[in-house]
């Protein structure tokens, strides 16, 4: 096997096989992370909205 064949084989392994596999793993981790963070974000947004509403309806002395 000459050097050209070795380099094309490395290209095939990295780009055509490893990269899609790593991308799928990142996709799973990413989606898991999104769902893991969503409650906190919603809680944060809802809290902010509640505080905003509370401030709006507070009886002003």
């Amino acid at each position: 096997m000459d050097f050209m064949a070795i380099s094309t084989w490395i290209f095939d392994i990295l780009i055509l096989q490893l990269l899609p596999m790593v991308s799928v793993i990142l996709l799973i981790v990413g989606i898991f992370g999104v769902f893991n963070r969503l409650p906190k974000g919603i809680d944060k947004a809802a809290g902010a909205m509640g505080r905003q509403f509370g401030n709006s309806f507070r009886w002003r002395k």
Binding site: S7, F11, I15, R37, K44
Partner: protein, 603 residues
Amino acid sequence: MISKHVLQIFALLAVFVVILVPFSAAAGEDVVEHTVQVKIDPEDADQYDKIVNLADPENAITNPDTWTPSPRGIWTGAGTEESLFQFDDVLPASNQFCVITSVNFNSTQIMNGASVTAIRSPIASENVLEMSLIVWRLGEPGWEVTGVTPGQYGYPIIEGDLNTVAEVFSINMTDTSVTAGDDCWTVDGRTYVLLHAPLYSGVEYIFQWSAQYEADCRPSIYITSQDVASDGLMRTCAAIRYASAPDEVTSHVHDLAIDPGISYDMWQGLGSGIYAESVYMKAGDTLKFYPRPISYPGFDAYHTIMIPFSTEDGTLKASVSIDVSDTGEPWVADRTEWTEYILSSSPEQFGSVMAGYWGAITVTILEAVRVNWLLIDSPLGGDVLDARNSAYMNIGDVDHTIYARPWHSYQMSVERVFAPSVDPEDFIPMVEVQENQPVKNIGLYIGTLMYMIGSTMVSRGIVIAPALLLMQGGATMMAWSKFLENEAGEGPIEQIIASIRNAINAVKQALEAIGNFLLMIGEAIYGAIMWLADAISEYGAVLLGLLIIAVALGIFFMAIFVQLKLWGITWRMAEGDLQKAAAQAQGLASHGQGVVGKLRGRI
């Protein structure tokens, strides 16, 4: 229940089917009987004399026992004694009787073939004046005797793909000696021929025996009911022609489905195309043959002959003479002692080309020695009617014909060719080598330099007198250096001529040196270019491979980096932290800009 009985009947039927069918088939098998019937055609069936069938079962002896001498090689023929068959034609003085048959030996009988074969004629020798044998090789199967050519001296017409293998004419019927005389002998009413011709197995040969009888005799031949050579060919054609008067010629052909009483004793075997004929030769015995013609090269050339041989010690004393067609004068080889082979060239160049029938090569033996001559033949090779496919030996003043070509080489060459020898007399004197000794030209070079400097000074007007003196001194040195340094001759004229010649040689050598130098530079440049081309073609692939690996790594890690960044942005957005998400996006964008900037800078 009737069904139970039906089942039993079915079972019995099954047994019968299984047993009876093969049994009846075996019992009813037809017995094939092989019968061989030898039939003589009705028109020929009664053409024999009742009293001449000499085969007597009471005292039967085997056919080989009737041979003289007893068979010494591989014997092939009818096992039981043959019967004499006499035709009822009473022949006048002008007559000819021919027996034609074919035979195809197989390899289990004679392996590849035989080169020397004793053959016994089927024609009874009684009252036979002259006999001859012609052997043909049949190229394609099938042959017919369609008749006899008209006229007083007609001969049988054989139609088929005939190629002549051997022709033995005028068999001496008075020769009764097996060991002496010609290659034939007649003993006890049977005639034998010792045939020096290659006979191959698996090839069909036609043997035609011809006989001329005394007047008032009836032709008779020996026949056998057996298949000679077990070749499946049982056929005897007898062609009879006789002329009671020049205008009264009778001829007829009998085609008998029976083998004639021919038997063969193979004395020597046969190689695959090349074989040896071992002959004890004495001083004066000769081997003669005609070489094949060689193409004319367009100019006179030496004729060279090479003949290999084998003796006990590898040497042979023999003179070799060659007839050349145009002069008719034979030339004789200088040498008479040879080792392993004869090799000789003609003493002068000839323009003519030796043509087969006009140029004969004769080897005359000068000592008593057994010689093995190598002979070449092919079962599908040439026709012996071409004399170049035969050799003629004269052993003790008796001629023998070998129907194969001696292995030899006959060629033309621009120079004479000699066999290796330690005797200087065997070679032509060589021209003495004259070594070309270079002459020292130091005086010439110094003189030339002085003359050039002097002439330069004169041309620039520098000190005329010393310059002229320098020039004169230089010229004098140039001239005298030749007188002093060369060894060309004694007289002054020769010295001057030698000086000029040496000066010209010096200029020529200088020019040659310059030319060689330029040539060397050119070759160096050419070599460098070729090296560069080789290097590019060799290392270019490596560089490209490295680039591919770098690009692959870049794409791989860049893609992962970008994805991580994107998920980071997404996570920050999921947390509701828009500021951090924007910061992540900005970082990704700036990183991309940096990469693009770097690439732009590189490119």
